[in-house]
């Protein structure tokens, strides 16, 4: 089914590809949030009953407690809600209601038009370092149901304020590993641990791992400095948003993404080739040499 869908879109790529790629890159710059449509999702207390309501609730449980409700599908210890605060309900924290209404759309990441299910599949494959779930798997259907319900009343084809993370201005000075290390030690290690491995109570994730085997892999959006810095500026620390300056957000992103993490599942066998194919931007540390280690190189 996925192959058919992909084939059907091939024809229009030639005409629309360049335009869409530009539109995608420039999306956050198109117009300021004030000119986009505001949207408020329904309160969780309004969740419906019945079979559909059960799916929505299951989707919420998967989203908030991924390591428990989707343990067989993921390869790390992250919950979706670690990067989408408030269970995917909050503006400027990757809200599901804005994502749901933004697809199908062209994605430069895979140079295809993706529907929302394909987008969710990528979340599990990269950010959760997991499997490529079938489009009709109960997990995907439940998270889709939860997203759809959160988007109740939202228009399609309109830019919603608060989608993704607010685009961060360029840093005054180039992002710096040493400055980032100092920021991390002072403001992040408290929760995420000096080793970036996160913290757990009775095996349950409380603070997510920012690098290492329990974290997102090199194919995840967060492995791009611009995404991580934008997230951190608008969302961290919990209860103290605003503590990080723009420069600090870029610096600490540089530091965090200068550590090893699970391999990009699209790895071709060569780190240099994989970088060229999937990570050829100034925002990716993949393939860079940091502290004598080539990031993304296979380990023995």
């Amino acid at each position: 089914m996925t192959a058919v869908r992909r084939l059907s879109y091939l024809a229009i790529f030639a005409a629309l590809g360049v335009f869409c790629a530009l539109a995608s890159f420039g999306r956050a710059q198109e117009k300021p949030d004030a000119q986009k449509l505001p949207f408020t999702p329904p309160p969780l207390t309004a969740m419906p009953g019945g079979a559909f309501g059960d799916a929505v609730k299951h989707g919420e449980n998967i989203f908030r407690h991924t390591t428990i409700y989707a343990s067989g599908a993921i390869g790390n210890k992250l919950n979706c809600s670690n990067c989408h605060l408030g269970g995917g309900t909050l503006a400027n924290s990757g809200p599901l209601w804005a994502a749901y209404t933004a697809y199908p759309a062209y994605r430069a990441k895979n140079e295809e038009v993706n529907d929302y299910v394909m987008r969710l599949q990528d979340c599990f494959r990269f950010s959760e370092n997991g499997k490529i779930l079938p489009a009709d798997s109960p997990i995907i259907v439940a998270v889709e149901a939860y997203s759809y319900w959160l988007a109740t009343g939202a228009p399609t084809g309109a830019a919603l304020a608060g989608r993704g993370y607010p685009k961060l201005p360029a840093p005054p000075a180039p992002p710096d590993y040493a400055r980032g290390a100092a920021v991390f030690k002072a403001q992040c290690a408290l929760c995420h641990g000096a080793d970036g491995a996160g913290q757990y109570t009775r095996g349950e994730t409380v603070f997510p791992a920012l690098w290492g085997k329990a974290s997102y892999n090199w194919g995840a959006g967060m492995s791009n400095l611009n995404v991580l810095a934008a997230f951190a500026k608008a969302n961290m620390p919990l209860g103290g948003v605003g503590m990080l300056s723009v420069q600090q957000a870029w610096d600490v992103a540089q530091y965090i993404d200068s550590h090893e993490r699970p391999q990009d599942p699209r790895f071709t066998g060569s780190t240099a080739e994989t970088r060229k194919k999937f990570h050829d931007t100034k925002f990716s540390m993949y393939g860079a040499t940091v502290n004598g280690i080539v990031l993304g190189a296979p380990r023995q």
């Binding site: 908030r64 428990i68 408030g86 400027n92 109570t201 919990l238 209860g239 103290g240």
Partner: protein, 204 residues
């Protein structure tokens, strides 16, 4: 006495400094629910050290504890903290059904008001069922309601200051009196050491 028999006396031999602590915090370190004195048993030693130090410096303003801590040496603080951190927390199942209401909602879902700058769920830093996390984030589960409520009020008024990154000052300041009352009741009703954790989310 059972613990002495199982683990041998030395591990739990009380240093002389804790004699004055146990009159309020209990010989077992589990506090006094009706009087509102918090349990200290099983709390992380670095957290307990920081609290005694803060009582001594006035970062935590409390007439009783301030007076006691003023006379403690750093060595005594370390010894007391290590003693209580090592005390066992009695096992007790979580209540069934689990508490349900506005306190539960604040603990599990927060009060974000649609923005990441809102109030995050208490559990997001104090751990599942308020059991605490690591060396810095204390257990709230099973603490006296009056104690939890008083601490949140103290964060609001500045009688309790500092803490890691000043986070509780930020968070506590945003809570209403009704939220404080509800969330204090929620955590007071939970077990400080459940043998197993209920599956999250299921209680709706």
């Amino acid at each position: 006495m059972v613990w002495l028999a199982i683990f041998g006396a030395p591990a739990f031999a009380a240093p002389p400094d804790v004699a004055s602590c146990s009159s309020c915090h209990g010989a077992d370190g589990m506090g006094n629910m009706s009087a509102g004195f918090p349990a200290l048993a099983g709390l992380p030693a670095p957290y307990l050290e920081a609290q005694l130090t803060n009582f001594r410096t006035g970062m935590r303003a409390n007439p009783i504890m301030g007076g006691i801590a003023a006379h403690l040496t750093t060595a005594q603080i370390l010894s007391i903290a290590a003693y209580y951190a090592a005390l066992p927390v009695p096992q007790k199942p979580e209540p069934a059904p689990l508490p349900h209401g506005p306190g539960t909602a604040l603990a599990l879902d927060g009060d974000w008001n649609h923005t990441p700058a809102g109030v995050p769920p208490c559990d997001s830093c104090h751990g599942p069922f308020g059991l605490g996390v690591g060396e810095t984030f204390p257990r709230l589960a099973g603490q006296p309601k009056a104690y939890i409520a008083a601490q949140l009020a103290d964060w609001q008024t500045g009688r309790r200051k500092g803490g890691p990154l000043g986070l509780m000052g930020h968070v506590g300041g945003k809570l209403t009196a009704a939220q404080i009352d509800a969330v204090a009741a929620y955590y007071a009703a939970l077990s400080p050491n459940p043998p197993r954790l209920p599956k999250p989310g299921a209680s709706g």
